[in-house]
């Protein structure tokens, strides 16, 4: 049966997460009639995430009930082009969301900004260390948009979230106790930093005694009663320990449902359709613009929704997938190193350091929150001298207490067997006496890490699966090893520490493994820039090839930061929306010359 063509709308938004709902809010209030197509179901913090039922580790943390169902959409994966890619048959290394709010309901709430030098990475490194410094096999590039341009948008999103923290750089004034490496903030965080448990406090004390600069992780776990600029009312965090992978029934973790959706859902220009799976974006005959989207409705029938402007607001990987199956932009080809869609896929380079305390330190690990931590940024970005290190990039080192859920939280010292009496004793003796330190490292793009379409497997809708080809670049392995050793030094210097264990997931000789959870920070594939040969969208998030298509999310990152992506990608989202409202929509056209 031919798809039913629906009445035209001004703006079609694909995906109802952080960026999609925010786009709808801003554009609806700018007089644009917006329709969101969301593949998942309606849900709400009050009715869907209330404890104690939400506090079900099995259902949500282990069986992934808030996340995308891989029987409908998944991808295939291989470490390199010589290998046969096989389907990701279960979720593991990363956990994209589905349903109202997207992955924004099960995030941790760590709310960062990019460093000024991160956004001009190639230029910055070449200026500081010379034009030959960046290894040749890294396709590192500038973002095409600067910190000063993004600052008002970072700031606004922090107000939307009721961010808790302490500014380390207030209008150029460095302040101890905050991140002294950060770019200047126009104003302080709207809410005070979180309370800290003993493990994080000991970490901060150790780092400070070593001359480093510890500060509380910037948090979207709200610390007091707060009303955001859209009028959403948030409540203080209870440190319940069910944050990442769970929705927050306390209205305490900023999420797209309570912060944005509730404030726009009644607007006359706003409409959202649930269980509406976009299958393809259609192009005009000349290919210069997109005309709308073909989607599968909740009744199992196909619809065509025409629109003047299309916003792509799916999770990073699915945005790229939709471009590839729709023929938007030129697909990347690693053999010729041409094309842009699928290019510069990157991830996050994670190492962990476990500090085991003597029994006098009682950590109560179940008293946690997603962004509850003390962190040093001394080894992130280019905050340290890379001259003799042989790599670019870095990572933050954080001691976090984000949960003590007993299936997922079983820290055991070096040399403990994986089962048996000795394992059992180690689990029980260390559960309440452990400091959880992470090295959260940047991820550099290479010509060999990319996304394309799989030749063999299909999704539930008959489309080819996305194919991910990824392994850790040598640069990132060296980076991770270096920063991990700095983390070990801090851990060994902590009071009451008996032993320290370190694990580099990107160790030399190992391969990226899609099974153990690392982070839901997949980036790149449709990157932002100023050169159509190396970016899918221009510096405003507008596709070079189809000027009425705007792209949002972490797929825009030319390389991944040493930070969690939500803050940086929402800064970009508000930047794009600002230019859509003020420049594009009054006069639709390419905003930059190709």
């Amino acid at each position: 049966m031919a798809p039913t063509t629906l009445p035209r709308t001004d703006v079609l938004i694909i995906g109802g997460g952080w960026t999609g709902l925010t786009a709808a809010y801003e554009l609806a209030h700018a007089g644009q009639r917006c329709v969101i197509l969301e593949r998942g179901e309606h849900r709400h913090d009050a009715t869907s995430f209330a404890g104690p039922e939400e506090h079900d580790e099995m259902k949500y943390a282990i069986r992934h009930h808030h996340m995308v169902d891989v029987t409908k959409e998944t991808l295939t994966f291989r470490n390199d082009r010589g290998q046969q890619a096989l389907p990701m048959r279960r979720l593991g290394s990363f956990l994209p969301g589905s349903g109202l709010g997207g992955a924004g309901i099960h995030w941790n709430g760590q709310l960062w900004r990019a460093l000024p030098s991160d956004l001009e990475m190639r230029t910055h490194y070449e200026n500081r260390y010379g034009s030959q410094f960046i290894p040749e096999d890294l396709s590192v590039q500038d973002w095409g948009v600067t910190y000063d341009e993004l600052e008002p948008h970072y700031d606004f999103f922090e107000q939307i979230c009721g961010a808790a923290g302490y500014a380390g750089n207030l209008q150029g004034e460095r302040r101890d106790g905050g991140n002294v490496f950060e770019g200047p903030r126009s104003q302080d965080y709207p809410n005070p930093a979180m309370k800290q448990p003993i493990s994080n406090t000991l970490f901060g004390r150790s780092a400070e005694s070593m001359g480093l600069h510890p500060f509380p992780i910037p948090s979207a776990n709200v610390t007091r009663e707060y009303e955001n600029p859209y009028g959403a009312k948030l409540h203080p965090c209870t440190y319940c320990g069910f944050c990442e992978r769970f929705g927050c029934g306390y209205f305490a973790k900023a999420d797209p449902i309570i912060c944005v959706y509730d404030r726009v859902k009644e607007h006359e220009n706003f409409e959202i359709r649930f269980e509406s799976q976009v299958l393809r974006i259609e192009k005009s005959e000349d290919g210069q613009t997109a005309t709308g989207a073909l989607y599968l409705g909740p009744d199992g029938r196909e619809y065509f929704q025409p629109a003047d402007t299309i916003c792509m607001n799916a999770y990073a990987l699915w945005n790229v997938h939709l471009m590839l199956v729709s023929g938007l932009g030129k697909p990347y080809d690693p053999k010729t190193r041409t094309g842009v869609v699928g290019r510069n896929y990157a991830y996050q380079t994670i190492a962990s350091v476990d500090a085991f305390f003597d029994d006098s330190v009682i950590t109560n690990p179940f008293m946690g929150a997603g962004a509850l931590g003390v962190v040093v940024d001394d080894y992130n970005g280019d905050n340290f001298d890379h001259s003799d290190l042989g790599f670019v990039g870095g990572g933050y080192i954080a001691c976090k207490q984000y949960h003590g859920r007993p299936i997922g939280y079983q820290p055991v010292p070096e040399g403990t067997p994986r089962w048996g009496l000795e394992w059992k004793r180690a689990v029980r003796e260390n559960y309440g006496h452990h400091g959880d330190i992470v090295v959260h490292g940047s991820s550099m793009p290479t010509p060999e890490n990319y996304l394309d379409l799989d030749p063999t497997w299909t999704d539930a809708f008959g489309r080819p699966l996305l194919r991910m080809t990824f392994n850790f670049p040598d640069n990132d392995r060296r980076m991770s090893d270096y920063v991990m050793h700095r983390a070990v030094e801090i851990a060994e210097n902590m009071e009451h520490v008996r032993s320290v264990k370190s694990t580099n997931l990107a160790a030399v000789g190992s391969n990226y493994n899609i099974v153990p959870y690392q982070t839901t920070h997949n980036t790149g594939g449709a990157v932002i820039g100023t050169d159509p040969a190396t970016s899918a969208v221009n510096r405003y998030g507008q596709m070079w090839d189809h000027h009425n298509v705007f792209v949002f999310g972490a797929c825009l990152f030319p390389q991944n930061l040493g930070y969690n992506p939500t803050g940086p990608l929402m800064g970009l989202a508000y930047w794009t929306l600002h230019h859509m409202k003020n420049d594009y929509l009054p006069n639709p056209r390419p905003l930059m010359d190709a």
Partner: protein
Amino acid sequence: MPAEYSRRAVLGQIALGGALATAGPAGHAFAALDDRPWFFLTDNEARWLAAIVDVFIPADEYPSATQAGVVDYIDFQMATHYGKGARLYLQEPFSQGAPEQGYQAPCPPAELLRRGIAAALAEGDVTAQDAAGRERYVQAMSEAQGNIDDSDVPVGTFFTELLSLTNEGCFADPIYMGNNAYAGWEMVGFPGAHAYYLSFVDKHNRPFDKPPMGIAHGEYPHTFPRIVGGS
């Protein structure tokens, strides 16, 4: 109820022959279920699982896996959505792949366990061995590669599945029929699902020895377990 359905009898046989011999018959997790048939397992499968999971989590001053209800947990998981392949992409073709590519078994977990246990039993009955023999058996299984003899069951995937299920059965909320009487939670000191720590998170080094409370604590009996994984 026919005698062969007695869970206590099945698990007790294991206990008497193995690691629990000195601790007496296995304290079976859910007495209320004792006369009910397994949801999925056969007695032989249950016996085999009991032998293996008690190597993973043997009894000491805290309960063993079978005492914590792990076999009941696995039985229930295999009978319901997870075992049947919910949230598992099962499109052909299948290929073993590299460990980095994760689960590539050509069937859902329930089928994997059924075929795996059958293949393992065909090699010899580990339940007839003493505790040391069982430990050696599990160690060998953890190091094996390829498929279990004469089967299409990848031994690595099978082993990983057994180990994860055992861990979950010990530490998941009791609504899933493991973690009997909060055996796992008591052991580590996890207070459970009812969580409100705003006044305590920054009270350093203060013990918080609240006894565990599960999602359904005191509210409805364990005979109404949670079925999860349908979507």
